[in-house]
Amino acid sequence: MRLFDRDRDGHPWEKAFEEMRRPDPGRRWAVTANWAMDHRVSTDRETGDLQASGHFEGVADVEDWWAARGLYFREEICRPASGASDRETSAYRRPTNSSNLILARVAGFDEFVHVSSLNALLRWISRRETAADVEISLRSLVGRGLPVKAPGFVTPDWFDQQTFELARALSVSGEDAVREAAGLLADATGEGEPPWWATFSEEIRTALDSEDAARICAALGLGHRTPGEWLIVWRYPVREVLPLYRPTAVEANDSPYHFPSPPEQPFGITMPLDPSFAACREVLHRPLRGAAARERCTGKLLYIEDFSTISDNEALLALRAGHRERLRREFGETGLEAWLDRHPDPR
């Protein structure tokens, strides 16, 4: 067995990873494949953080492992960027992950783009202690509050239906209103928000300029987004979100749309959903807050429609195969080929 691109025969997770050698209906094989090949997770992090967290104790099969992985994400990644202690700081910022601190001297004036889902943000906030303050502020801004359940049985899609109405009200009110909302939502997500994933905006400028939500999702590899969601977009200078970290499969959580970047690459590399798009460099950083979260929002809410994600294992395998070719074309050195050969995707 290989784990984090290291030989680990006899590892406690061997049975779990063996179960995922063939594509499963839940697509979890892609996540275990990523964990197997992700050289970016150092030994220090593996032992000093993942194992030391205790969440992976007693893992006997893939279900144990899958549940432990999710709990680790919620308990260890969803922490402040700068906590009072290492344990209280998000795991990606701990000393055990220092090998992923990006040391390349990126120009502070260069620009990142981060894309989030209004639906996901509202759902996150509605469960938290900041819900009332957001409710009051939104009503003051556009006369509508957080999605609220009406008495009587409703199907669980009431939240997204009301989010649609709120998004329309914000859009009609203008870009300043959208920015104001973006600022207050960013501030309200709280310290448990996971790090922001960002790419250099210039790499997808055409897609961004199109303001076509589906196109942006395809360009950035956001296969987890669905039609009916609203995107909020922030663009901001690099200097406002330092320090930067290279992402790993651990922060990618349960995403089958992630692919580890090759060895020796200082940044993450996105996996676009369409072969016509080039891959982008991607990073992790702390979420924007305060005036920056308001001012750096583009002021546009983009509605996702006519968007088809990768729908089955065959398509996902093809996407990953195409991405391997893309990596070969872009990076094409010997180390890359050996790494890819060590980790063929399941058949």
Binding site: E63, W66, A132, R139, H224, N253, D254
Partner: protein, 345 residues
């Protein structure tokens, strides 16, 4: 790429239905702990994936209540375990959070008793808000009325935090979501106005003096009207007779929300009348400006050839100035006027 349902989610929806059909609480507990969930990305919690799976089912309205029955069993099991002294560790806390998040989306009837039991047993700040939120939506009787009033009343330590404000609005919703007694409902009465009045006054006492007081009370009235969609006349008729007994701040907020009928009509008439006058003045001004521009253009066309170039340039600049002014008029005043007329209407 293909359109349509995510097959990974559809597969999981099938597993969920099987689990509910078999009454398998252990497996449902596993789902809500993260087991057997599909890889969807987006950092969704187990409760989000279960919620989406309900929507993918053939008949979500049939699946949801049956799921609620199983969920109630899980809540009761966990309550029993916690009462026996089992530690509320990260794993258990995570499970309960996801249980509570799902509970909010399910129909009431089955979960209320179980959730009340959990509420009486547990003492965890992390679970406080989700538990109150779930309880608010799961009520089947008025047994929590005192609890809601207790939260709405001024806190002993006078804390004024985001958590406190969220608890206040949750308790207010909880009060509104108390179902009517069956006999009263049969008589056609749904809303308990005495309860609403007491709740508003208690809420006012809790928030008075704070910067957010007015906004919070206005939000409470908005929540009231969204919970019970009724006409403005309905609310005036039922709330205004009691209002003179209320604190003045609350009276003002009520009056601003639902002005008395004659005042409302008078305000509307005045609003409309003044807007119409402004509109007329604007049209006169635009017409006059257009006429002037037309004259300037004509003059420029008819310039004798021996006029110096400077004069031509001057006239062209004048025309440009007029054009810019008219653009400003259009963009600024007309747009503002349209917004204002819409608001008055």
């Amino acid at each position: 790429m293909m359109n349509g349902t995510d097959p990974a989610l559809a597969h999981f929806s099938g597993l969920l239905r099987e689990t509910v059909d078999a009454g398998n609480t252990s497996r449902l507990k596993g789902f809500l702990s993260g087991r057997e969930l599909p890889a969807l990305g987006g950092d969704q919690e187990p409760s989000d994936i279960v919620r989406r799976a309900i929507l993918e089912a053939e008949e979500p309205s049939v699946l949801a209540p049956r799921l609620a029955v199983l969920l109630a069993s899980i809540v009761s099991e966990e309550t029993k375990s916690l009462s026996a002294g089992t530690l509320l560790d990260a794993r258990r806390r995570d499970l309960l959070l996801n249980v509570l998040h799902v509970a909010m989306d399910l129909p009431a009837e089955e979960l209320f008793v179980a959730l009340r039991g959990l509420h009486e047993t547990i003492d965890s700040t992390d679970l406080e808000i989700p538990l109150w939120q779930a309880l608010a939506y799961q009520q089947v009787d008025s047994s929590l009325e005192e609890e809601w009033f207790s939260i709405l009343s001024p806190s002993e330590n006078g804390s004024w935090t985001p958590t406190r404000r969220t608890l206040l609005l949750t308790a207010w919703r909880g009060l509104l979501w108390i179902p009517p007694d069956p006999e009263i409902q049969e008589a056609g009465e749904i809303i308990d106005f005495d309860r609403i009045e007491l709740g508003l006054v208690a809420l006012h006492h809790s928030v008075e003096g704070h910067e957010e007081a007015t906004a919070l009370l206005e939000t409470a009235l908005s929540i009231l009207t969204e919970t019970y969609p009724r006409s403005a006349e309905f609310w005036r008729r039922h709330l205004q007779p009691q209002a003179p007994k209320w604190p003045s701040q609350l009276q003002e907020i009520l009056a601003a929300r639902w002005p008395t009928e004659s005042a409302e009509i008078a305000v509307d008439e005045n609003a409309w009348a003044s807007e119409l006058v402004r509109l007329n003045e604007l049209f006169v001004r635009l017409t006059s400006e257009a006429a002037e521009l037309s004259r300037q253009i004509e003059q420029t066309r008819n310039l004798p050839l021996e006029d110096p170039l400077a004069e031509t340039q001057r006239r062209l600049r004048q025309i440009e100035d007029f054009t810019r002014q008219m653009d400003r008029l259009r963009q600024g005043e007309v747009d503002a006027l349209i917004r204002s007329v819409r608001k008055a209407g």
